[in-house]
Point group: C2
């Protein structure tokens, strides 16, 4: 306990300015998240987000070069959340059915926060992202696949664990897309059905 005084890092005015810019970016993304929670993804526009953030829509362009980048930033935040959740499950779930638990959580999360899922499909299908953004997108995808691969490796599959990870990831995405508008079922029934299929698939991948 010789030294209890906190010595602050050296910080310049320029540093502060950058921090402030980042803080403002965060405020904007936070606002976007709130809007996404209320409106379907493809109806959300820059003006909505600006209004929610309490600024002019032109101001957004001071902090993001364009809409795609803002959306991607929001999406990556969601991906981080998923990764953290998977890690938490893996940590608390040393027993056998890790795969099923992860799949269930994945479906759970992406059903609750539907906008993340819609953004994912948007980037997969329509996205025309700048190469640098594609790179960031791929990084998180890779991080997710790494998690899944680790599970398969630990489970001693006869298949290539990486291929299994890819196939499982794709399969669950497919469930989320294919049955989201299951005719004549309410939200809860759709969710149950997705979980049911997720479980079936996870079982097949064991």
């Amino acid at each position: 306990m010789a030294c209890t005084i906190e010595i602050p890092e050296k910080q310049t005015f320029a540093d502060l300015k950058i921090q402030e810019q980042n803080a403002k970016r965060k405020v904007i993304i936070d606002a976007a998240e709130r809007v996404f929670g209320v409106k379907p993804f493809h109806e959300v526009n820059i003006r909505d987000i600006a209004a929610e953030a309490g600024i002019s829509h032109a101001t957004i362009y001071r902090y993001f070069p364009n809409q795609q980048t803002l959306f991607l930033e929001a999406f990556l935040r969601g991906m981080d959340e998923i990764l953290a959740r998977i890690d938490a499950i893996a940590a608390n779930n040393p027993a056998g059915n890790l795969l099923e638990a992860v799949v269930a959580d994945f479906i759970d999360f992406l059903t609750q926060k539907d906008h993340y899922f819609r953004m994912m499909t948007h980037f997969m299908l329509d996205g025309e992202l700048a190469p640098e953004l594609v790179e960031r997108l791929n990084n998180t995808a890779r991080a997710l696949l790494n998690r899944l691969e680790a599970i398969f490796t630990a489970g001693n599959t006869t298949e290539n664990p990486r291929a299994m990870a890819r196939a499982l990831f794709a399969a669950i995405n497919g469930v989320l897309i294919t049955f989201r508008n299951y005719p004549g079922r309410d939200r809860q029934a759709v969710f149950d059905h997705m979980q049911f299929l997720g479980k079936l698939i996870a079982r097949r991948f064991n």
Copy 2:
């Protein structure tokens, strides 16, 4: 051979008129298919299709109430093609690996004719179709699931064959979506990878 004279069905002027309308509708859809073969789905518009059909874009609205209906009509034609292909495979493939063959063909077809796949995702994700159109969409989906279910039933799965059909259909859709923009791979490599994953999944579903 008592009677070789063909007796034509009774046909009124009104019948003829309806037939002509249907023929014109077909010309328009044919034109749409050609445009879809050249342009990415989400860039195709009514004016393109009209130009390809050699008519004014306003004329299209004499034969289709709106764009969605025209697109759906084109899509259903693609679905019919898929169903016919599956039936052909089932007929020529009495041996064991029917499932893998069907999956391979499904991926093959929807990769070649990408616009059908894009339309499918469009209807699943963004589509706001009139109830009557949703009904038609569901009918073909059901027809496809019936085919898959029959394969599982014949294969004596321990699982519910209908559930297996749904899960497989979703899983393959997922592969087609998730890896269509696989970074840094050309068309051929993407295709091979999809087929590889399709095979892996089919194996898991055996």
